[in-house]
Structure formats: structure tokens, C-alpha cells
């Protein structure tokens, strides 16, 4: 029997009872669909994380005050280890291209009767460059705003919508705490950074924020390396340890009173998240494909029993053991391959729907699929058919023609 004939006979066997074939392949459909969906979610999440990293730039790093255990979440809780003196020396480092200090300003923000709690930051003009932020309307803050301690503000896109709706906010005066600021510009949407919206922000000049809070330390410093990222990182650590009197020759981050977060670290975290996700997906795939495979084997055994007379007839007409073996094996493979294709289409559809929904909450969550995971799921489905189909196919091939013809 030639290959196209085997394939045709197998396809015929599968399409004769479509409902049963569909139910048989359900395990494979769910298994492959789950793998495709999960890998697509993983891919989209990678995209989200990468967007966080790339929004800061590949050579970017962030310094938070406080110890490692506190982590970046401790930034607003009163750690005061990063001083203005530190900042001045950091600005002198040749390996650092630009330094952007940040002070968080507490307090309720209001405009007329509307009140809200956007994140209020005091920054220098370098902040916008470091964070790849561009003006949507008006202008961003410049050096003169800082030096002149002007009571001006730039708003994020969500903040504009919240306080002004579709009205133009430029020239309007908003209140933060007990001070008033004139809106001079708005920022183009950024999306989220570290899973927080970066668009619900009020940006004030650094000197104004320092004056408003009375703070003598920094909440955060973002930096861009000039050239070599590693050298910049070493320079920063060395400088801060020297200034803070920390003896840390073994580079133990727990001894430091500051934390440096880098894009490279984020990539490492991303790598471990990806690995975890891959293991998770592989486990799901293996379990569901084994379950699906057992279903296939069960139905194929029933099918061999039901079609014993057909097998006898085919043998009477000249089919060899190999012809029958290949036909039934091909049927199992056709079942799993069709199941795999349906699973892939279903998984992609669900992933698309999910991205459609999640995008409303997380704007950087974009629809993405993992071609490698999809291909692996498909190949696994193929081999599931092959492995679980072999036993029923062998049973069919071993039937003696006359016994099979007499079978009732």
C-alpha cells in the first residue's frame, strides 16, 4: 500500500464517525491547547517585562536606598542613605552618562473639586531622557525650572484624563499638598513600569520637590551608563561604599545600604520566570498528552474490535500485516495531528481573547505566541499518536484473515 493510500484510508477511518473522533481527540486538543495558551501567556508576559526593561533602556540602572531585604518596595518608607552629596559625586563619574535623582512627594493632588492620588515625583530634566519620555502637549521640565524652583508641573496621560477629561490642562493650576503648580506640559503614554502605571504621575522640578518635602535624601536615582555597563556598575558601588564607609570586598549586597537594580538583573529574573513557566508547561503537556494518548489507545482498541471484519476483508483482498499496521497507526496519528491542529488554533484564539481582555488592565500586554512551544506541542501530539497507536495497530495486523472474516 502506498503512503497516500494509507493516509487516505486513515483519514476515512477518522471521518466515518466524526463525533467519536472528536471526543477521542479531546484530550489532545485540551493538552495542546493548554500548552499553546500557556506559552502564549508566557510570551506576552515576557513582552511586558521586556517593555519594562526597554522603557528604561538597556544601559539603565536604578539605585534605591536601603538594604537588599527591603528591596525596591522600601523606597518610600524612609530610608535615607542616598544623599545629595552622593548625587553630586555620582554625577562626576565618567562611566555614567546621566544621573536622574527622584524624590517622592506625598500628599493629595487636586484640581478644583476633583481629588486623586497620582504618584508625585520631583525630578531633574535628565529623568525624561533616562526614561524615554516625550511631551504630548506643551513642554517637559528643563534646567531652568529646577534652578529657578518654578512651581510648574508636567502630567501623565492618565492624570490628565482623570482631572481634566478632554479639556486642555495647559496653564491650569493643580494643587499637591498645600502648594499650587501650573501645568506646562503633558507626557505621551508610557504604559506601566514594574507593573505600576507610569501614566498616573505628576512631575515637579527637583528643587521644588526637595523644598516641599524638606527631604535631605533621595528616594531613587536612575542612571544611564556611558559605555560599559559593568564598569559603570562597579564605579557606582565602589563610590557609594566608600562614601558610606562600607567595607564589602566580597561584593555581598546584604552589607550595602543601597540596592542597585539593573536591566541585566531584570533579564536574569526574566530568565528564571521563563524557565519556571517552561517547566510548568512541560508538566501540563506531558500529563494531558498521556491522558489524551490513553484515550486514543482505548478508542483505537475498540475500533480494531469493531472493524475486525473489515480487517479480514482487507487481508482477503491482499493487505499485508504491514498495510494493516500502518493504516491503524496512521489513523491514531491523524487523530492526534488533527487534535493538535485544533488545539493550536483553540490555544491561539484563547490567547488572543485573553490579550484583548488583559490589555485593558496592562497596556503593554500584547498578543504573542511562542512558535517553539507550539511546534513542540504539535510534535508531541504526533508522537503521542504514534506511541499509543502502536498497540492497537499491532493487534489489528496480527489478526488472521479467515478468523477476522468470521468474527461477529
Amino acid at each position: 500500500m502506498r503512503s497516500p493510500d494509507i493516509f487516505r484510508a486513515a483519514s476515512k477511518g477518522v471521518t466515518v464517525n466524526i463525533m467519536r473522533s472528536f471526543l477521542t481527540m479531546l484530550g489532545i486538543i485540551i493538552g495542546v491547547g493548554a500548552v499553546v495558551l500557556m506559552s502564549a501567556v508566557g510570551q506576552s508576559m515576557q513582552g511586558v517585562i521586556l517593555s519594562q526593561i526597554s522603557s528604561l533602556g538597556p544601559k539603565s540602572m536604578v539605585i534605591f536606598p536601603g538594604q537588599q531585604e527591603g528591596g525596591p518596595n522600601a523606597v518610600a518608607t524612609g530610608h535615607d542613605s542616598l544623599t545629595f552629596e552622593d548625587l553630586r559625586e555620582l554625577e562626576q563619574l565618567k562611566s555614567i552618562e546621566s544621573v536622574a535623582p527622584i524624590i517622592f512627594v506625598p500628599g493629595i493632588t487636586s484640581y478644583e473639586k476633583e481629588e486623586g492620588s497620582p504618584q508625585v515625583l520631583g525630578v531633574k530634566e535628565t529623568y525624561f531622557k533616562n526614561q524615554n519620555i516625550f511631551a504630548a502637549t506643551g513642554r517637559l521640565l528643563d534646567e531652568s525650572d529646577d534652578q529657578g524652583a518654578k512651581s510648574v508641573a508636567v502630567l501623565g496621560s492618565d492624570t490628565v484624563t482623570k482631572f481634566f477629561g478632554s479639556n486642555d490642562p495647559l496653564g491650569k493650576r493643580i494643587q499637591v499638598g498645600d502648594r499650587h503648580y501650573t501645568v506646562v506640559g503633558t507626557m505621551k503614554p508610557i504604559g506601566s513600569q514594574f507593573f505600576q502605571s507610569a501614566d498616573d504621575r505628576v512631575i515637579l522640578p527637583f528643587s521644588v520637590a526637595r523644598d516641599a518635602t524638606g527631604q535631605k535624601y533621595l528616594n531613587m536615582v536612575t542612571m544611564q551608563a556611558t559605555d560599559s555597563f559593568d564598569i559603570a556598575l562597579e564605579d557606582v558601588k565602589e563610590l557609594l561604599r566608600r562614601r558610606h564607609g562600607i567595607n564589602n570586598p566580597k561584593d555581598d549586597p546584604k552589607k550595602d545600604d543601597f540596592v542597585v537594580r539593573t536591566a541585566a538583573q531584570a533579564s536574569t529574573i526574566l530568565g528564571s520566570v521563563t524557565l519556571g513557566l517552561t517547566l510548568f508547561i512541560t508538566t501540563i503537556a506531558t500529563i494531558s498528552l498521556i491522558v489524551g494518548g490513553i484515550g486514543i489507545m482505548n478508542i483505537m482498541l475498540v475500533s480494531v474490535s469493531e472493524r475486525t471484519q473489515e480487517i479480514g476483508l482487507r487481508k482477503a483482498l491482499g493487505a499485508t500485516r504491514q498495510d494493516i499496521l500502518l493504516q491503524f497507526l496512521a489513523e491514531a496519528v491523524v487523530l492526534t495531528v488533527i487534535g493538535g491542529i485544533i488545539g493550536i488554533v483553540g490555544g491561539i484564539t484563547f490567547a488572543w481573547l485573553l490579550s484583548f481582555i488583559v490589555r485593558h488592565f496592562l497596556s503593554t500586554y500584547l498578543f504573542a505566541i511562542s512558535p517553539v512551544a507550539t511546534l513542540i506541542a504539535f510534535i508531541m501530539a504526533f508522537f503521542t499518536g504514534l506511541i499509543f497507536g502502536i498497540n492497537p495497530a499491532r493487534q489489528a495486523a496480527a489478526l488472521q484473515p479467515i478468523e477476522a472474516l468470521r468474527y461477529e
Partner: protein, 243 residues
């Protein structure tokens, strides 16, 4: 021993062994069938006529004795050799038609060609249509087997049996499931094939069916009791000197 004979058996015996219980079915069958013959193997139920047909048609193996097909001893044939002979040299028409369900007339008739090692796929369509036409079902070629009458189904089975142009066609009670009119039509179709030169071996216990053959071999209790071209003697089951 004549090598011009198509089929020759010498003291052929068949017995079944079920867990040590040996049941003999055929005893010392000596039979020679030449090309172009139309033979009817007759006998009551359980006489061993179907077993003989299955052995001659390579669906089953004999236990002792010799079976020569076109002068070649078949005892050493393996599974694949037997399958190849079934694909190329012999074909069957069964009592229960044995058509594939949910499959068209054309697909059913074409089925043996899928297993034929030398007929190329390009010839399949032409051979199939020709076989269907020969049994007078050209206008039903796209019908499903479930849409046909019993007689039509058996004619499809006959078309299927001749599509590979085999040396011999075995028909096992071909009219057993048919009304008399359909039975006559089926036998006429087989007779026409014989007129065209096909060798036909018919197994039946029906006298009216056996009458279409030119030679009748009568079996009783696993032995040939008559082998004659004299219809009356053969039907009577009288033992005559075997050829």
C-alpha cells in the same frame, strides 16, 4: 502432475487443533482445476466445502498433503507471500457481500487495487469503472453501499473481485443472502465472467446455484464423494471414480 493445471491438491488434509483437541475437517482431498473452469463445490453444512475454499484461496493453510498453485508448492509460503497471492492471483465473493460501510461503490471496487503491488495508481480509475460497467452498475458508481439492494451489493462484490484480473475467483455462497431473482442475476454475472475466460470456484449448498457450473465437486464429511461434469450424478452425490 500437469503443470498446465491452475490448482492441484494431493492428499490434502486439514484439521484444527483447539488446546490439544484435534478436529479433522478435510481428508485426502485430490483435486485438479484447470484454467477457465467453472466449478461448483457442493455439500451440506459442515461438510468442509468452505474450509476447502479458504485453503484454495490462501485464506487458511492446509495441515498435511500438497497444494500446488500453478505448479508451485505453497507449503512454504509466509504471511506476505500469501497476501501477495491474494492481491494478485485470487479474489473472493462472499455470502455477506463484505462491502465497506459508508463507502461508495467505486471506492469498494477500487479497494483491492490499493494492495496490488504492480498496478499503478494511474490505472485504478479506468479498471474500476470498467469492472463496475461489466456488472451493470455504472449508473450507481457513486452510491453508498447502504443505498444498494442485496443483488446490487453482490454485483459490486463481483466487480471488486475482477478488478485485479485474478487467475481465479472464489465465490462462497454468493446467492445465500439474496432473493431468487437477484440470485439469478448474480449467477448470470459470474457465468459471463467464466465465458470471458475467468476461472470460477463456487461454493454452495443450493442446487439451483450449483447448476450454473460446468463441473460439480461434491463433498461430504470432509471427503470428495463425486467430481463430475455430469450434473445429475454429481447432484445425487454418487461416488464416482475420481479424476
Amino acid at each position: 502432475m500437469s503443470f498446465s493445471s491452475l490448482i492441484q491438491t494431493v492428499d490434502l488434509c486439514k484439521s484444527y487443533d483447539n488446546d490439544g483437541v484435534v478436529t479433522p475437517v478435510l481428508y485426502d482431498i485430490n483435486l485438479t482445476i484447470n484454467r477457465g473452469e467453472f466449478i461448483s463445490i457442493m455439500g451440506p453444512s459442515g461438510s468442509g466445502k468452505s474450509t476447502l475454499m479458504h485453503i484454495l484461496g490462501f485464506l487458511d493453510l492446509h495441515s498435511t498433503g500438497k497444494y500446488l498453485f500453478q505448479g508451485q508448492a505453497t507449503a512454504s509460503f509466509g504471511d506476505d507471500d500469501l497476501a501477495r497471492i491474494r492481491a494478485t492471483r485470487v479474489s473472493f465473493v462472499f455470502q455477506a457481500f463484505n462491502l465497506l460501510p459508508r463507502t461508495t461503490v467505486k471506492e469498494n471496487v477500487m479497494l483491492p487495487l490499493l494492495y496490488h503491488p504492480t498496478i499503478p495508481p494511474s490505472e485504478r480509475e479506468e479498471r474500476t469503472l470498467k469492472a463496475i460497467e461489466l456488472v451493470g452498475l455504472a449508473d450507481r458508481k457513486d452510491y453508498y453501499s447502504s443505498q444498494l439492494s442485496g443483488g446490487q451489493k453482490q454485483r459490486v462484490a463481483i466487480a471488486r473481485s475482477l478488478v485485479t484480473n485474478p487467475d481465479v475467483i472464489f465465490a462462497d455462497e454468493p446467492t445465500g443472502n439474496l432473493d431468487s431473482a437477484s440470485g439469478v442475476a448474480v449467477m448470470q454475472a459470474l457465468q459471463k465472467l467464466n465465458d470471458d475466460g475467468h476461472t470460477i470456484i463456487l461454493v454452495t449448498h443450493e442446487r439451483t446455484t450449483a447448476e450454473h457450473a460446468k463441473r460439480i465437486v461434491h463433498i461430504r464429511d470432509g471427503r470428495i464423494v463425486s467430481d463430475s461434469t455430469d450434473f445429475q450424478r454429481a447432484i445425487a452425490g454418487k461416488t464416482e471414480q475420481l479424476k
